[in-house]
Amino acid sequence: MTLTTQAADPADTGATLAEPSRRRRSLPPMSTKLAIGLTLGGLILLFGLLGPYVTQDPSLVHDYGLTGPSGSHWLGTTQTGQDVLAQLAHATRGSLTVGAIVGVLTLLLSAFFGVVGAYAGGWVDEVFSLFTNVMLVIPGLPLVIVISSYVPDKSLWLVALVLSITGWAGSARVLRGYTLSLRNRDYVIASRVAGEKRWRILTVEILPNLIPLLASQVVFAVIFAILGEAGLSYLGLGASGSFTWGTMLYYAQNGLALRLGAWWWFVPPGLMLALFGAALSLINFSIDEIINPKLRNQTRAARRGWRMSRQQLAKAKEAGL
């Protein structure tokens, strides 16, 4: 049923992959997008890792209250005189922790339900894909809100767990579609005929071909988790006693930072969220170009195919092609 149509798409992307070296394709080509994404993401990661060691105590209260950026407090202070930069460092660590936990859990859950289900086939696939689709249509954040409102004291781990339970289904569906097409490729059938064991076909023949797709799904999961956690914390439903970008925004909102014009309080955490999200999407663009080579090669290939020079192509474009 679905096999015939699913197989068509990756099969002809395989045909357009006409690069000489096979090995080079396994790593994304270093484009500006990827470089910017990696640098930005790396800097934020470093800030989250090392920042908490060099900044002041984020909870330390001073009696001078809300002050703007100055020499002693680079990003100013909150209403109770806490250093915003120190809070930002700890919040970065908190948010990245949630992202990392959810990334790993989503990887495991979606790989299990998507890849194993599709590979096993039969009723296992039917049940797994039904379960995945049901999880997909039940809206995530309302469910998270409902669950977390029943638990008064939450750890960061619990929040991450709930976020991954509600977030894995989309990735599983994508992985299932791709695995379905892979398991009917010639080389997989050949290795089955050669008498390889099922688990070996799965881990050695199929899984390596899924790595780019898995990577992009994990990146999506991390973005989703960090944004979801921020939303949850902003509503006051996050992990208790933790620092994340969302809790900073929650306290800024409650401390009337908007009305008082304290931009140094609510702009940095949001900006960090946006920058980190943008960095991860840029990395994902590059991974996308491996998965779907049409996005990358088409113009170059087309030009070569038509045997046109750059100037000729420009002329053709002007002519309204």
Binding site: P139, P142, I223, L227, L258, L273, G277, K294, L295, Q298
Partner: protein, 329 residues
């Protein structure tokens, strides 16, 4: 026909799963929500035995009834439309609160999502058609908007357009002081005026995703042979773009539209919180902060049902526009 039955069967299973999740969660959680709720109700006024019974059926009283009969009673209450009594808005029943708030959310979120979808798909078509144009280079910028969290964008817009240049009102759904709700011009104008800024945030933060998806599908579709044929036949570029390329490229966006609805609802809860918009998201948050479990469960159920319903609609529509899904079986 078989395809249709399969679809409807799936949604029935999903419906049952949603209802059951709604039944299980309060029973799995630590603490005793029934006691909390009943004591809160007791402070507001006398609790009738019927109210107590319906709340017990909703949230699970505990020991004296087996789980199975609790489940049947819960289902019975759902079918008869009894979702319990709200504590926060005592003594209003949960259903009437949902009735009041749901139109606001559907109006705001539904319209904003549709506008965002149409604009995003339109721009994505153009960007994919003319690769490397300024519009195409704009896409990374719009996806940057997408990684900005809804509520932060809302806060910034509120700060800029509400506090610094007071163009738009800071919160609410309409001007409470000078207009009366109803089908009159002044009220509708006020609703549009108050809804512009929330809608703008939703559109700004979601349009990038549609644009990117559509652009990528356009690029993929443009390398198909039938497009070469269409061009070789000498059809007008506009016709090739819309009737040949865009019509096929839009299919994944439409099925993505169904999946994204859940996320839209989620994002809108936070957006409503920022703007204090009188929709269902704000009601959910009030329920959460007041430990109003009956209202909370009711709203979760309604949100899930609306997402399921919208998904079903899109699915049925999809099998009309893409005949391949019908023959696949």
């Amino acid at each position: 026909m078989r395809h249709l039955f399969r679809k409807i069967g799936f949604y029935l299973v999903a419906l049952w799963a949603a209802v059951t999740v709604n039944f299980i969660i309060p029973r799995l959680m630590p603490g005793d929500p029934v006691d909390i709720l009943l004591s809160k109700l007791g402070q507001r006024g006398p609790v009738t035995p019927e109210t107590r019974k319906s709340i017990e059926a909703l949230l699970g009283a505990g020991t004296h009834q087996p789980l199975w009969s609790q489940y049947t009673e819960y289902l019975h209450n759902l079918v008869t439309g009894d979702l319990g009594v709200s504590v926060t808005f005592f003594p209003a029943p949960v259903t009437s609160i949902i009735e009041q708030t749901l139109p606001w959310t559907i109006g705001l979120i539904g319209l904003a999502t549709l506008i965002s979808f149409v604009v995003g798909v339109g721009l994505g078509t153009l960007a994919g058609w003319k690769r490397g144009s300024w519009l195409d280079n704009l896409i990374p910028v719009t996806t940057m908007f997408q990684s900005v969290p809804y509520f932060w964008l809302a806060l910034i817009l509120l700060f800029a357009l509400g506090s610094i240049w007071p163009v738009f009102p800071l919160n609410g759904g309409y001007d409470v002081y000078s207009v009366t709700p109803g089908w009159n011009g002044a009220f509708l104008r006020s609703v549009v005026y108050y809804g512009t800024l929330p809608a703008l945030t939703i559109i700004l933060s979601s349009v990038g995703g549609w644009m990117l998806g559509m652009r990528n599908m356009m690029v993929s579709t443009l390398s198909e042979d039938y497009l070469l044929t269409a061009e070789a036949k000498g059809l007008r570029p506009g016709r090739v773009m819309l009737r040949y390329a865009a019509r096929n490229a839009v299919l994944p966006s439409i099925s993505g539209f169904a999946i994204s609805l859940g996320f839209v609802v989620a994002g809108s809860i936070v957006t409503e919180a920022v703007f204090s918009y009188p929709g269902i998201g704000s009601a959910l948050l009030q329920a959460v902060s007041g430990n109003d479990y009956a209202l909370m469960q009711g709203i979760f159920l309604v949100i899930t049902l609306s997402v399921l319903g919208a998904n079903l609609l899109v699915d049925l529509l999809y099998s009309v526009i893409d005949p391949r899904t019908r023959t696949r079986g």
